[in-house]
Symmetry: C2
Subunit: 451 residues, 2 copies
């Protein structure tokens, strides 16, 4: 550890002792997290007693009230709920069936979030497969009109960061229906955006953009996509699709905001957050219940180990990240109007697996200072201190503030669960989750001791 | 990457190009592993078609024949089975029941490996709880005689390496019955050696040492240990224990040995291995099916990406690690008698989770050379290049050879599965498993290009 950062710790004049103190506080934070597993207990309640928390749901509001209460019990000085108007989209019955040469096969199917429904009697049409937008364009109107476009598109398995692989595949989920609709397709289905070769479909947000043509759109499971692909190799395939879903106006959800006042610099806010909403198929354990309890653990762990924060630690659990970032936009609007100064803002929205490190958006001096923490944190598995980071919910604060951090857990398993029925409490490994909470707590402790 | 190591790659004279070549080969190794997932396919067969492979079982022999065949199909120049005489221990019916104040509670229970059985009618005695050998000693003969000793002992949750936590707790499994037997106890039960707070018991090897007193010994689940502890807080508790188990002579198992001959230095052996046997409660997926397929993937991945090894890559899958290391001892005896030169020997026996790095036992020069690989391997999550490493099955080679490597995956989940019914194919995450195989393959590729 560099002398510069060392000398800032805890006002100690002897550097060895300062490093020892820091080591002891960090060790205590991990020990508390791994012993009590308070984050896992909160998450267990959110997943099993409250359940899925889609945008506009009463469950999202229950979770906001529950987490506010938990933060007050953990010693928050204030905690309140900030109302946010959010769209409400519902999912009813949904299924699809492929027909070829007299045989029929049911495919695990789920509507993408935002899709219009099929007609009440469903729809049935010939399937045409594409592997990319380029292939769609080559087919053109002649090849697509009146048909169901099947996006047999993949996350790139060769990419080590599964978030990078997600980035390359999710465009077909987002814009697949819009592009196929322009060419006269009657519906689209896609291979689920996942790396697990299983039989569960994964949902997620889609958009029609400004297009007036709105066609129903769904994901089928990895294995169903394989089956459909094999059937198509044998000749013509028809698909029957039934989706009962659609927008049902708006509703009020809430951002949960809890402050643990700083003793020396109460007006310098250290924000830490996750998003409270989830998709409806699972319990939102990984996405983003894990991030919520990570954030809640940061001030709780500080309190439990007897550390008094200099700056104010603020926990924000945002409403409706998945379906439009409404909570993040409303929080940023309010913060700007009130002149809130976020000295740092950290988000956890990459799941609850074991820690790898952090992505950091900061000026060079600050980035270097954070990197000096590596020596203290590497015994806990933290080795990534990458430039650039944050998360979707921090986006609306950019420009206003300038120091952002995104927690980076191991990413290999994340898209196994993501937006599917598999994202329930069983997707969570308690120790790994708590290692993340402690890592974020330890980093905030170190940051709180920087000038 | 240092110039020293660089200039050794592939005979290239231009250093940038050598690093690019190395990068390309490594990338190809990971892409092949993550795409084809051949290691997972092999493991799936070993777990589901063959199943548990305890010492002395016919299943262990089936697995030896299967893996030999797979290695030949992968292009091994030779593959053979080396007979090893191993002890055979069997497990029959087993259960326990705690009685207090008229109530009775069944406890998930499993005999420790090597335990003698209870009498045919079972046994029933008062329970006395201890938290350590020190507490046992304080109780002494007066406090223990005629009773069942309950080791309410824990892995230390505050340790980040769960293997370190295991090291501190496993002594009660190994020697608990021996120590309690000396003081006249009639049996022992212990809290399972795990960090997952669940309801499955975990077995593992125990020993009576030279003691003539042999008392039955079992593990109960974490939650059962909690229940027993709570009952004891209310007063006297009796435990009824029934264990049908015991040694059934010996049997012949096999080490599987497959050579992929080196083109330039065929007599310099690069050994890579895992152990083929498992405990009987699960399918031995993590312990150590994962290590077996990791080892098998190393030469397979080299072949698949078109790399020709200079040295001979030898895969060894040892018989009976769990119950006496017989396979490792026999292999080492044979290798020494034949004058085999192991230039390096690497083992994978820490499960199939995502890679963290390697533990390396080597002279300082070699250790530094291996550490120069960090730059090439860190994009794949490898950041631990620790001094000291190997594994139990490499032990008998020490003294004879002097360059050992142990693969170190993430350890947080390992003891959730370890030696329990949970250690089945569902414990394996395919991508994480393959990341390990590719990491070992990439390291062997880099080593093969060192002089």
């Amino acid at each position: 550890m560099k002398i510069l950062a060392l000398s800032l710790f805890l006002g100690c004049s002897v550097q060895v002792s300062a490093q020892e103190d820091a080591n002891n506080v960090i060790k205590a934070i991990y020990t508390e997290a791994l012993g009590e597993q308070q984050g896992y207990k909160w998450l267990h309640y959110m997943c099993t007693a409250i359940g899925p928390r889609p945008s506009g749901s009463e469950a999202a509001n229950q979770a906001a009230r529950y987490t506010k209460q938990m933060m007050l019990e953990a010693g928050a000085d204030t905690a309140w709920l900030q109302p946010v108007e959010v769209p409400k989209w519902y999912r009813g019955t949904e299924w699809s069936k492929a027909y070829a040469g007299g045989d029929s096969v049911s495919l695990p199917t789920t509507a993408l979030g935002g899709s219009v429904p099929t007609p009440k009697e469903g729809l049935k049409a010939e399937v045409v497969e594409v592997g990319s937008f380029e292939e769609l364009e080559v087919l053109g109107k002649d090849g697509v009109e009146g048909k169901i476009v099947f996006y047999n598109t993949y996350m790139d398995h060769s990419l080590i960061s599964t978030f990078n692989a997600y980035g390359g595949a999710v465009k077909y989920r987002w814009a697949g229906a819009m592009e196929a609709g322009k060419l006269g397709a009657v519906a689209t289905v896609m291979r689920s955006v996942t790396l697990l070769r299983d039989d569960l479909p994964h949902t997620g947000a889609m958009s029609y953009g400004d297009s007036e043509v709105k066609i129903p759109t769904a994901a089928v499971s990895w294995q169903a996509a394989d089956r459909l692909n094999q059937m198509l190799e044998g000749g013509t395939v028809e698909l029957e699709l039934f989706l009962d879903c659609g927008v049902q106006g708006t509703a009020t959800n809430y951002n949960m905001i809890a402050d643990f006042k700083g003793s020396k610099k109460p007006d310098e806010i250290m924000l830490v957050g996750g998003h409270i909403d989830s998709w409806d198929l699972g319990q939102g354990a990984q996405d983003d219940g894990a991030g919520c309890v990570h954030a809640m653990q940061v001030p709780n762990l500080m309190k439990k180990v007897g550390y008094k924060n200099n700056r104010t630690v603020r926990v924000v659990l945002w409403a409706n990240e998945e379906f439009g970032l409404d909570g993040a936009k409303e929080y940023a609007r309010w913060a700007k109007s009130e002149g809130v100064y976020h000295w740092v803002a950290m988000e956890s929205d990459a799941g609850g697996d074991v820690p790898r490190g952090f992505g950091i958006s900061a000026n060079d001096t600050l980035l270097e200072q954070v990197r000096t923490f590596k020596e203290l944190l590497s015994p806990y598995g933290l080795h990534v201190f990458a430039q650039g980071g944050g998360g979707a919910d921090l986006g609306p604060l950019r420009g206003h503030d300038d120091f952002f951090i995104g927690y980076r857990p191991e990413s290999q398993r994340y898209f196994d669960f993501h937006h599917s029925a598999r994202d329930n409490i069983n997707a969570i490994h308690p120790r790994s989750l708590e290692m993340g909470a402690a890592s974020m707590g330890a980093l905030f402790y170190l940051l709180d001791n920087l000038d």
